[in-house]
C-alpha cells in the first residue's frame, strides 16, 4: 500500500513529540522542535531536489543533517559572531536555497512542457 497523504508522515512526528514531552517536559519538546526545524527540515528541503525515494530522503536528511548542517553553521559562525544567530541564519539560508532550486527546476519543467 503506497501512502500519499502527507498527514501520515506528520502523525508519527506528533506521537514522538508528545512522547518526548511526556518524558522530559517542555525542554524535551523544545529540543525536538529545534532539531526538526533547524537541522532536519533544511536538509530535507534541499534533498527534495534530488531524485531519491521518500524513505531515503527522510533518512538521509536525518543523518546528513546531524553533521553537515552543523558544519555549514560552523562556517557561517566564522562570519556571524553569534552561534545562536548562525544556527537560524544557516537554516533559513538552506531552506531558501532548497526552495530556489526547486522553483527553478519547476520553471525548467514548465518551459519544456510548453
Amino acid at each position: 500500500m503506497k501512502i500519499k497523504n502527507i498527514c501520515v508522515k506528520c502523525i508519527p512526528l506528533l506521537i514522538i513529540a508528545i512522547f518526548v514531552t511526556s518524558l522530559f517536559g517542555f525542554s524535551g519538546l523544545k529540543l525536538f522542535l529545534g532539531y526538526f526545524f533547524a537541522i532536519f527540515l533544511p536538509t530535507y528541503i534541499l534533498l527534495r531536489n534530488i531524485h531519491i525515494e521518500e524513505i531515503e530522503r527522510i533518512f538521509f536528511s536525518f543523518f546528513m543533517g546531524l553533521i553537515l548542517v552543523p558544519l555549514v553553521i560552523w562556517y557561517i559562525n566564522r562570519i556571524i559572531p553569534s552561534l545562536r544567530i548562525s544556527i537560524w541564519v544557516t537554516s533559513i539560508l538552506l531552506i531558501v536555497i532548497g526552495v530556489y532550486i526547486s522553483l527553478n527546476k519547476q520553471k525548467g519543467l514548465n518551459k519544456k512542457s510548453d
Partner: protein
C-alpha cells in the same frame, strides 16, 4: 511518496519510541550527567560553545576546564586544539540552545545519536533483504549491549560515527547496483561521499573502517560484474566530489594528524596463528571490561553461532550483488581485527576493541539472513513460506526482547546510581566555583569518590582541576616545552615554552565518603584537610564540602 509504506512508518515509529524510552532511562531517573572521563571531556566542548555563544576554532579556542587535560596531544597546533572536528561537538551546544537547559537536552541528544543506528541498519536491510530482516536487525541493534556500554562509559562520538556506516554503504550499494544495471544513479555516489565525510567529521575510526569496506565491496562487485564502476563521462562528478572532500578534509586534517598517536606502526607480519581466529582478544581486553567482548553477552548465547554460520553459508552460496555487501562487511571487520598482525596498530589498542560495536551490526544482519533462510532450507511448501517466516520473525523478536532486551533494560536502568553519579550538592559546588574562582587558577579536588565524577565537577565548574589522590601542595600544573611560536594559546598560561597554571585552591568533598560511610577514607581526608588548613583559609563551607584558598 514512492516506497514508504504504512508498515514502515508504523515499525519505525514504534522502534523509535521504544529505543528512546529505553536509552533515555539513565537520564529519566536522575537529571545529572553520567559517564566516564571521555564523556565529561566531550561534554565540555559543546557546553563551552553554547556558553560563549561561538563554535570553536580548530585551535586556540578551547574550554579552560580541559586546557591542561591532554596538553601534549597535538604537537603541531598546541594544547588548545580540538581533538575532533567541531560538528559533532556543536550538536551538544545545539541541544543546550534548543532545549534551554544545560544537562538533560544534551543527554537526550546523546541517547538518540547512539541508538539511531537502528534506522541506518533498517534502511540497509530493508533494501537488501526486506521488511522482516530490517525489523529483526534493527531490534537487535536497539538492544546492542556493546553500543550501550560505550554510550554509558562515554565514547559516544565513536558510537555516533559508526551509525553512518550502514547508511553510507547503502548509498554506495544503490549506486554500484544501478551502475551495473546500466541505470546509473549518480546522486547516490554524491550521498555516499557526503556520508563518508560525516564519519570523518565525527570520529576518524569510522572512516578508517568505511574505506576498506568500500574498496572491498567495489572490488567484489567489479569481479562479479567483470568491469570497474568507472566511466569517462563521470569525470566531472569525480572531480567535484574529490574537490569537496579535499576542502573539508584539509580544514580539519591537523586535528587528527597533528596529534601524537599512541599507536605505533611497525609494518611486519606478526602472530600468524592470529590470522586463523576471527579476533584475538589481547591480555589487556582492549583496555575495557571483558564483558564488552564476551560473545554470549552480546549475542543471546552461543547457540546463535549456528544462525551466524548459516547466514555466512547463504551469503557465500548465493553471492548475489546484495550478498556482497555483508561479505565485504565481514572482510573489512576481519581486516580491522587483524591490523595488529600486520604491525599497523599497537597490539591491544582500544581502537580495535571499539570495532566490536560494528561486529554487532553485521553479525546480527547475517544471523537474520540465516534465520529467514530456514524455511527454504527445510523446504517448507511455498504456500506456507510467508507464514513460517513471520513465525520465525516473531519467535526471534521474543527471544531478543527476553534476553538482550531485558539485559539492556537492567543495565541502563541501574547505571550510575547513587554516589556513582555527580550529586546535586556537587553540581551546586561547580556553579559556585564558576562564579567565584578566577579562570587562571586551578583547584585540587579531593574526596569525591570516583575519577570520572571529579572530571564532571571540573568541566561543569569550567575550571582546571587536579584530580589525583596525593596530599595537595602549593604548586603548579606544568607541561614543559610544548609551546611553539605559531600556536594559538591563552597567553596567561604560557611561560617561555611551558604551559602552566597555579594550583591556588583545594576542594575537600566529604559527601560521597559520608554517603558510603567509610570511616578510613573520612579520617584520611580529615588528616589531609588539617595539613592544608595550616597554610590556607576556608572560602566555601556548605553541604559537607569545603574549598580552601592558599594564603
Amino acid at each position: 511518496m514512492n516506497n514508504l509504506k504504512l508498515k514502515d512508518i508504523i515499525a519505525l515509529t514504534i522502534l523509535f519510541l521504544v529505543a528512546f524510552w529505553l536509552w533515555a532511562l539513565p537520564i529519566q531517573k536522575n537529571s545529572l550527567p553520567f559517564g566516564e572521563h571521555d564523556g565529561a571531556y566531550i561534554f565540555s566542548h559543546g557546553d563551552y560553545m553554547s556558553y560563549v555563544d561561538k563554535s570553536s576554532d580548530v585551535s586556540g579556542d578551547y574550554p579552560i576546564s580541559i586546557a591542561f587535560w591532554y596538553t601534549g596531544y597535538n604537537k603541531v597546533l598546541g594544547p588548545m586544539t580540538l581533538e575532533y572536528p567541531p560538528p559533532y561537538l556543536m550538536d551538544y551546544a545545539f541541544a543546550q540552545i534548543f532545549g534551554g537547559e544545560r544537562i538533560v537536552p544534551v543527554y537526550i541528544f546523546i541517547a538518540v545519536s547512539c541508538f539511531i543506528g537502528i534506522f541506518s541498519i533498517y534502511l540497509l536491510m530493508r533494501e537488501l533483504y526486506g521488511f522482516e530482516a530490517a525489523i529483526l536487525t534493527s531490534t537487535a541493534i536497539m538492544f546492542s549491549f556493546r553500543t550501550a556500554l560505550l554510550y554509558l562509559w562515554g565514547q559516544r562520538h565513536n558510537v555516533t560515527a559508526f551509525i553512518f556506516i550502514p547508511i553510507a554503504i547503502y548509498s554506495l550499494y544503490i549506486y554500484l547496483d544501478s551502475f551495473y544495471k546500466n541505470e546509473e544513479k549518480i546522486q547516490y555516489l554524491y550521498i555516499f561521499v557526503l556520508l563518508l565525510i560525516c564519519t570523518y567529521l565525527v570520529h576518524f575510526s569510522a572512516t578508517v573502517f568505511l574505506i576498506p569496506f568500500t574498496l572491498i565491496l567495489i572490488t567484489l562487485m567489479s569481479i562479479k560484474n567483470k568491469r570497474l564502476p568507472i566511466k569517462n563521462k563521470n569525470i566531472k562528478h569525480y572531480l567535484i566530489l574529490a574537490t569537496l572532500a579535499i576542502i573539508i578534509v584539509s580544514q580539519f586534517y591537523l586535528i587528527y594528524f597533528g596529534a601524537d598517536s599512541t599507536d605505533k606502526v611497525d609494518f611486519a607480519i606478526k602472530n600468524i596463528g592470529g590470522f586463523f581466529k576471527w579476533i584475538e582478544i589481547p591480555s589487556n581486553n582492549f583496555g575495557m571490561n571483558p564483558i564488552f567482548h564476551d560473545y554470549s553477552s552480546s549475542y543471546m548465547s552461543f547457540w546463535s553461532i549456528v544462525l551466524l554460520l548459516l547466514g555466512v553459508f547463504v551469503l557465500l552460496w548465493r553471492r548475489k550483488n546484495k550478498d556482497l555487501v555483508l561479505i565485504s562487511a565481514l572482510s573489512a571487520l576481519y581486516a580491522m581485527f587483524h591490523l595488529s598482525n600486520f604491525g599497523l596498530i599497537t597490539e591491544g589498542s582500544y581502537r580495535i576493541g571499539r570495532y566490536l560495536v560494528l561486529e554487532n551490526y553485521f553479525f546480527y544482519s547475517i544471523m537474520v539472513i540465516g534465520l529467514l533462510f530456514i524455511p527454504d532450507l527445510v523446504k517448507v511448501p511455498k504456500q506456507y513460506r510467508s507464514i513460517s517466516k513471520l513465525l520465525l520473525t516473531v519467535f526471534f523478536l521474543i527471544i531478543l526482547v527476553s534476553t538482550q532486551g531485558s539485559k539492556l533494560y537492567d543495565t541502563l536502568n541501574d547505571s550510575y546510581e547513587g554516589v556513582l553519579r555527580i550529586t546535586p550538592v556537587q553540581y551546586e559546588l561547580s556553579e559556585w566555583i564558576q562564579e567565584n574562582i578566577p579562570e587562571d587558577s586551578a583547584l585540587y579536588i579531593r574526596g569525591t569518590l570516583t575519577y570520572p565524577k571529579k572530571a564532571f565537577v571540573q568541566i561543569l565548574s569550567r575550571r582546571t582541576m587536579e584530580r589525583g589522590e596525593d596530599i595537595p601542595l602549593r604548586r603548579e600544573i606544568l607541561s614543559e616545552n610544548i609551546i611553539k611560536d605559531n600556536m594559538k594559546v591563552l597567553p596567561q598560561f604560557v611561560r617561555g615554552t611551558d604551559w602552566v597554571i597555579p594550583l591556588d585552591y583545594v576542594i575537600f568533598d566529604y559527601t560521597d565518603i559520608l554517603a558510603i560511610g567509610n570511616q578510613q577514607m573520612f579520617d584520611s581526608l580529615t588528616q589531609m584537610e588539617e595539613t592544608v588548613s595550616k597554610n590556607a583559609s576556608v572560602i566555601y563551607n556548605k553541604n559537607n564540602i569545603k574549598v580552601y584558598k592558599y594564603n
